[in-house]
């Protein structure tokens, strides 16, 4: 027994081994994404791989992706937030009103910035509103003991209703270029533009940079901080977490604030991209967000998963939609295919994981 023990502990360095398992854990969604890209590249005779298209896909997934980062925290604790689409609209509307200083839908583009709080003020307002919405829901979940599904299902309609009241039912449109920059701006890559001889400038869209930055941040928080560890612990076994001295209610509350923050950020970026805050923005987007998390391998029961998987999951959905559009697949059929792919991706993930465990 004793000799066997020494032999075992002398096996490869621990950190490397953990990385290996974690990377394999990423494999399933990543392989799936890769296969899809190859299929679309062939089917579109390479058009899919045009950098302009690639950046377009990335831009399209970045808002869903951001919110999915927050949703990963929530689902890791074993919770769910169905209200993110409505919260996004509410936050976007709050940003527009803060920026314009009015909820009148005046289309005057360049004159309004003096009245409101400015771009930074609008962005902060959106994130504050999102976080506050998350706080209220988290409070109801942790203090009143109402299931997250119910609370956020209520939130889904409440936030939408508030948005409609705020905006008198219509959109608030027309922002200045420095506002719109956050949705449409680019970090230009002249060498790439030259390389593919594109007539329009190619670059990394600002929303993509925001999304990727927060992906890295969320990854670091979940992997290297005490708070991140606590999130996994609460999702894995809430009773054990409580008996280990963790403040389970505070941690649970916080994840709803985090997803609220990201919904707010997404609302701001979306309004910048559309040059308009729509009262109907983000309807149904909670499904895309949850799908991204689940495709990324995070368990709906909590305790297992990570944000890199989520980012890949969001990308997978974006690639799928874009590829199908390029292939002129009707939008009716698209919906069926997307649904099937979601199920298939998760089935594949399960299969890979069960092989790994056996």
């Amino acid at each position: 027994m004793a000799t066997q023990q020494t032999a075992l502990s002398a096996s490869p360095p621990k950190a490397e081994r953990r990385d290996a398992t974690r990377i394999i854990g990423q494999f399933a969604p990543l392989i799936f994404l890769f296969v899809l890209i190859v299929i679309f590249a062939i089917a579109t005779e390479g058009r899919f791989l045009n950098p302009l298209n690639i950046f377009n896909v990335l831009r399209q997934v970045s808002i869903t992706g951001m919110i999915a980062l927050g949703m990963t925290f929530v689902i890791l604790t074993g919770g769910i937030d169905l209200s993110v689409g409505s919260l996004l609209a509410l936050a976007g509307m709050a940003a527009a009103i803060a920026f314009k200083g009015t909820n009148q839908n005046t289309l005057s583009l360049e004159t309004t910035d003096a009245v409101g709080l400015g771009v930074a003020g609008a962005a902060i307002m959106a994130m504050l509103v999102g976080t506050a919405g998350g706080f209220i829901q988290g409070f109801a979940i942790t203090r009143l003991g109402i299931p997250a599904f119910i609370v956020t299902l209520g939130g889904l309609t409440i936030w939408r209703g508030l948005t409609l009241i705020l905006s008198n039912g219509g959109p608030i449109s027309g922002f200045t270029p420095d506002y719109r920059y956050w949705g449409n701006g680019l970090i230009e890559l002249p060498w790439l533009t030259e390389l593919v001889q594109s007539r329009v400038a190619i670059g990394i869209p600002i929303p993509v940079i925001v999304f990727l930055s927060f992906t890295i941040l969320a990854y670091v928080v979940l992997r290297y901080t005490r708070y991140g560890r606590h999130v996994y612990a609460v999702g894995g076994n809430p009773e054990a977490a409580r008996l280990s001295g963790l403040n389970v209610k505070m941690i649970t509350l916080s994840v709803y604030m985090i997803v609220g923050f990201f919904a707010g950020l997404g609302g701001f970026v979306l309004s910048a991209r559309l040059n308009s805050s729509e009262a109907v923005a983000g309807i149904g987007s909670e499904l895309d967000v949850i799908a991204a998390v689940v495709i990324g391998g995070t368990s709906l029961f909590g305790g297992e998963g990570n944000v890199l998987g989520t980012a890949i999951g969001a990308l997978l959905i974006g690639v799928l939609v874009n590829g199908l559009v390029m292939l002129n697949v009707s939008s009716y059929i698209q919906q069926i295919i997307i649904g099937l792919i979601i199920i298939l991706a998760v089935a594949f993930d399960r299969y890979v994981k069960s092989r790994r465990r056996a």
């Binding site: 096996s11 290297y224 005490r226 708070y227 560890r229 076994n237 054990a240 008996l243």
Partner: protein, 509 residues
């Protein structure tokens, strides 16, 4: 009947990296209770899973009553009359006893099954094991022991020939165990064979006819129970002699002052939770370097006292003093801050994060000390902590990065103990510290408890196993129905005396 009922020959099962079973032979005669023994990781579970159709052997053959059979699925195993009763029951709490017994096999026509027939048949099978329960009772209203009876009734209703019981006694009180043993003997008299898996060797001696012992995936021995003694079994299981399970006593620390004193802990009947156990003014103290045993039947309130001190359950009244100072404990965080730790009774439900690595499990309560001002965990400190306790507690694992669910029960328990030892507590409460772990690990945990006490920790130990309480404790408090009923010092303690204090109503004793 001449031949064996079950004959497994040359069973080999390999998992990636592990040879779980290596050419194992196993025979069960008709109408016998056969003990299947071995330390955790010896291959018992794998063998049971093969018998229940959950795993397929890589090689070897299985014969039932002389006929070669294939067990490709749990359903097939049941169809052959082999039924397994797992430690965690497979019952639907919201359904009635009758529905649970006949789930998937409801009598009557395929669309509208007959409630009346189902209830009648359920009554008939429960009568076979001598229990009277209304078949229309919801399973969630039953005690653990009664739920187990429902499982047994279900096994009987399937016309089973061989019932496998995996650790059936671990969640039962002493009197319930006695009753279960009687039922096992009755079933044997009716011609059924039972494979009995347990860690409690006294029970093996009491109820089994023969035993098979596995060690490291091999056959380690087989014997008629009549001709052997417990030390013989232990020798087969561990491959060496373990003379004393309760490795003696510990040295006492210099400072033996009172570490923890509780006064008048009280909890009244709770309307929301009628099953909640009431505490009637519990007062006691425990000194540094002392192992205080809390003995009582299941449901007497032992665990509730522990949870109350630790802040896991709310109390109505009660004062707690640590080193003579009054302290307020409302949450486990408060208790931890004051240096009180709790190793809870149910490892998997209350202590472990099965999907996290061993390292992450061990450090969970220590994270504030292991992280910097920004909340980043200092990986090197965490690794050092893990390594320290791996050596100190002899935790056996491939690396500290494996998920804790892959460890044996004994090693999992050591991980939980490590979590609390790392905090260097003043008081450590251990609730059923050796439940469901193998003999060798048990001895190690016992030695550890002595070591902790010797280092000046006040240890409060709760256990349902009287030999453990008697062998380990310096002093024993007995509890019955939420009241302290006695205090016994080690030298005066006998099983009979404790049993009387735990189980006999006042006036009778």
């Amino acid at each position: 009947m001449s031949g064996p009922l079950l004959k497994m020959t040359g069973i080999t099962k390999r998992f990636p990296g592990v040879l779980a079973l290596n050419n194992v032979n196993f025979e069960v005669a008709p109408g016998e209770i056969h003990g299947l023994l071995g330390e955790n990781g010896a291959g018992k579970s794998t063998l049971l899973k093969i018998l229940s159709g959950a795993h397929h052997p890589d090689s070897g053959s299985i014969e039932l009553a002389g006929q070669r059979i294939m067990l490709d699925s749990p359903h097939q195993a049941q169809a052959q009359g082999i039924v397994t009763i797992y430690q965690e029951f497979n019952l639907v709490p919201q359904l009635t006893i009758a529905e649970n017994v006949y789930i998937g096999r409801e009598p009557g026509n395929p669309i509208l099954f007959s409630w009346r027939k189902m209830a009648e048949q359920t009554r008939a099978v429960t009568a076979r094991i001598g229990i009277q329960l209304d078949p229309m009772t919801q399973v969630r209203d039953l005690s653990v022991a009664e739920q187990q009876m429902v499982e047994i009734a279900r096994a009987l209703s399937m016309q089973s020939r061989l019932i496998i019981m995996d650790e059936p006694t671990s969640a039962l009180s002493e009197s319930e165990v006695v009753r279960l043993k009687q039922i096992m003997r009755d079933l044997k008299a009716q011609g059924l064979s039972i494979i009995f898996v347990t860690h409690r060797l006294e029970e093996v001696m009491d109820v089994c006819d023969r035993i098979t012992v596995l060690r490291d995936g091999h056959n380690a021995g087989e014997a008629e129970v009549k001709v052997i003694q417990i030390p013989d079994i232990i020798r087969m299981m561990v491959g060496r002699v373990v003379d004393d399970l309760y490795a003696g006593q510990h040295a006492l620390p210099v400072d033996q002052s009172v570490a923890l004193q509780v006064k008048n802990l009280r909890r009244r009947i709770n309307k929301q939770d009628p099953h909640a156990i009431v505490l009637h003014g519990i007062s006691f103290e425990v000194r540094r370097g002392e192992i205080l045993g809390l003995a009582g039947l299941v449901g007497a309130g032992r665990t509730e006292i522990a949870r109350a001190i630790f802040g896991a359950d709310p109390l109505e009244t009660g004062e707690i003093f640590l080193d003579g100072q009054p302290i307020t404990i409302r949450t486990p965080q408060d208790a931890i801050r004051h240096g009180i730790g709790l190793v809870p009774e149910d490892r998997k439900q209350q202590a472990l994060f099965l999907a996290l690595a061993v390292r992450e499990n061990a450090s969970m309560a220590m994270l504030p000390q292991l992280s910097n001002a920004l909340g980043f965990i200092k990986a090197r400190d965490e690794a050092t902590l893990m390594e320290t306790y791996r050596q100190k507690l002899n935790i056996r694992m491939a690396t500290s990065e494996v998920k804790v669910r892959n460890l044996s029960g004994g090693n999992q328990q050591k991980v939980v103990i490590a979590r609390w030892l790392a905090l260097q507590p003043k008081v450590l409460i251990v609730d059923e510290p050796t439940r469901g772990i193998d003999v060798a690990a048990k001895a190690e945990v016992h030695a550890l408890l002595h070591e902790m006490a010797a280092s000046g920790i006040a240890v409060i130990m709760i256990s349902s196993e009287l030999p453990e309480i008697l062998g380990m404790s310096d002093r024993i408090l007995t509890i019955r129905e939420g009241r302290l009923t006695g205090e016994v010092f080690r030298k005066d303690a006998t099983q009979e005396a404790l049993m009387a204090l735990m189980a006999v109503r006042e006036g009778a004793s």
